[in-house]
């Protein structure tokens, strides 16, 4: 526990030093708040507008949750489909790679043209961004189950379903969580972009309003909220990973342990 605190001390120290330096520069050179607001200015702005910011943030939070949920669900389904039916992967992967290469900035307006200003285009955008990291990393994980365990299951005559449930799915969990952590951060950014493109609520919309009004402090306040939200999502993914993966991944052979010999 003590060593954990010590390890966290250094990055926290750098962050505090950075904020202090920022504050000092703004005060010393009398930088105008419309160019670069000082941290203290941003903090007091956030305190004054707490209720409004919270409303916008919770809207974004809900949108991001829905989008990430949908994206993760599609990602898992796609990984399983590609894994179980190899032809599908070969057939569809070019299209999927293409969808990942279209900038969201370009795709967003098109989706609005096709699906209007409601929830649908935003969810589609989010799902498109969110499903890919989950699908691809989980697919890799499903294929990487230890060969000796695969051989054991074949030798005892386990069915395809048993191999999937007992071996491949658990073996893919570490990769799945790698994908989930990526998706958690991308998802928040994608939600902001979606709101920025066409919405009357949310932090993304708030940024548009504030930047159009040259309210730089407002923009910074929104950025702080977004970063906090992204960090919270990432933290939740890490926490979930710790709760689910309690075994030590990657070792099951005899060489694994000599610690607890038969007495």
């Amino acid at each position: 526990m003590a060593s954990k605190i010590r390890r966290a001390l250094l990055p926290a120290g750098t962050l505090i030093a950075f904020v202090l330096l920022w504050q000092a520069v703004c005060s010393a050179f009398e930088v105008g708040p419309y160019v670069l607001p000082a941290p203290w200015t941003i903090a007091s702005y956030m305190a004054d507008n707490a209720a409004r910011l919270w409303d916008q943030l919770s809207f974004t939070l809900l949108l991001a949750l829905k989008g990430i949920g949908l994206g993760v669900a599609i990602g898992i389904a796609a990984a399983l489909l590609f894994h179980l039916i190899p032809g599908v992967r070969a057939a569809l992967s070019p299209i999927i790679i293409i969808t990942q290469n279209i900038p969201t900035i370009a795709l967003g307006p098109l989706l609005i043209v096709w699906f209007g200003f409601g929830l649908a285009p935003k969810l589609i955008l989010l799902a498109l961004v969110c499903f890919f990291p989950v699908a691809w990393s989980m697919l890799a994980g499903l294929g990487q189950a230890a060969p000796h365990l695969r051989e054991y299951m074949a030798m005892i005559g386990a069915s395809r379903w048993e191999v999937l449930r007992r071996l491949e799915l658990p073996a893919s969990l570490p990769s799945f969580f790698t994908g989930l952590k990526l998706t958690a951060t991308y998802g928040v950014t994608a939600a902001i972009v979606a709101e920025w493109l066409g919405s009357s609520e949310g932090i993304g919309h708030y940024i548009v309003l504030k930047s159009k009004g040259y309210d730089t402090t407002g923009v910074f306040a929104a950025i702080v909220c977004i970063v906090a939200l992204a960090l919270a999502f990432y933290g939740a993914a890490v926490l979930l990973e710790r709760l689910v993966i309690r075994w030590r991944p990657g070792t099951s052979n005899a060489a694994a342990g000599k610690r607890r010999d038969a007495a």
Partner: protein, 276 residues
């Protein structure tokens, strides 16, 4: 009808001596297998015939690379033989899976399952109902003194303990024959001797039909009723040896003169088999 005649003829040809074919739990008749690599045929098994009787401990011993793992894959139904027939409980089972209990060289325990769940999940694969599988696993883990680690993940266990769990998993599967593929090869000498004594005791209580593969002549002689000595690839059976040592055996059975004589004989055979 012809098939029956042919089988008898074959049995005569290979000189099956012990008992009638009826009580054989596992029987291989003229099994051959070769692989194609770089457009060349590499024969691995050459008309191999062997049998494991009810409650018999039979060992295959041979130089490394003599196709023993291939043989197990054929028996397990993971691969098909080029010719010949594999019979379990008297029925032809070429390419049929799910009829043997199996203990591989590496313990192959699932790292995300507790020790008890590792045992019980294998039992449900073998068709035992989940509740009963759990009960059996818990009861037997206690019986082999692993009751206090039943709830732990396998990585906590030493290599020897992992192999005990792996053996238990194979033993409890209600299947005609247990195939053990060099199960102690990865263990250090001391643990290995300990495991042999442990396996001997447990097997002599249970008397299951076992096909065991090893490189170690001492291990083969200590554990087996019969030994088949294999040649280098393509594997043929050089000799079938009945081990006359009485049961129950103890770990110090290697002191017996008969043991020493047989060891010498097998070493000679393996030497012949390897020289060109």
């Amino acid at each position: 009808m012809n098939v029956g005649l042919e089988k008898e003829a074959k049995l005569e040809l290979i000189g099956v001596s012990e008992g009638s074919a009826k009580e054989a739990k596992l029987e291989l008749i003229g099994v051959s297998k070769s692989y194609r690599r770089d457009r060349k045929r590499h024969p691995v098994l050459d008309r191999l015939s062997l049998r494991v009787g009810e409650g018999e401990f039979v060992t295959l011993i041979g130089p490394s690379g003599s196709g023993k793992s291939t043989l197990f894959r054929l028996i397990g139904g993971v691969e098909l033989p080029d010719e010949g027939s594999i019979r379990i409980d008297g029925k032809e089972t070429n390419g049929k899976r799910g009829l043997i209990g199996y203990m591989p060289q590496q313990a192959s325990l699932f790292p995300w399952l507790s020790v008890a769940a590792n045992v019980s999940s294998a039992l449900t694969t073998a068709g035992i109902e989940a509740g009963e599988a759990k009960r059996l696993a818990a009861e037997w883990l206690r019986r082999i003194d692993l009751g206090d680690v039943a709830g732990e993940y396998p990585h906590v266990l030493s290599g020897g303990m992992q192999q005990r769990v792996s053996f238990l998993r194979a033993l409890l599967m209600p299947r005609a024959v247990m195939c053990l593929d060099e199960p102690f090869a990865a263990l250090d000498a001391l643990t290995r001797a300990e495991m042999q004594a442990w396996l001997l005791r447990l097997w002599e209580e249970e008397r299951r039909s076992v096909l065991f593969v090893t490189h170690s002549i001492e291990e083969a002689l200590t554990l087996s009723d019969r030994i088949y000595v294999l040649s280098r690839a393509p594997a043929r059976i050089l000799k079938e040896i009945r081990v006359p040592l009485p049961r129950p055996r103890r770990g110090d059975v290697w002191k017996e003169p008969a043991f020493v004589a047989l060891k010498e004989e097998i070493m000679g055979l393996l030497g012949e088999g390897t020289s060109p």
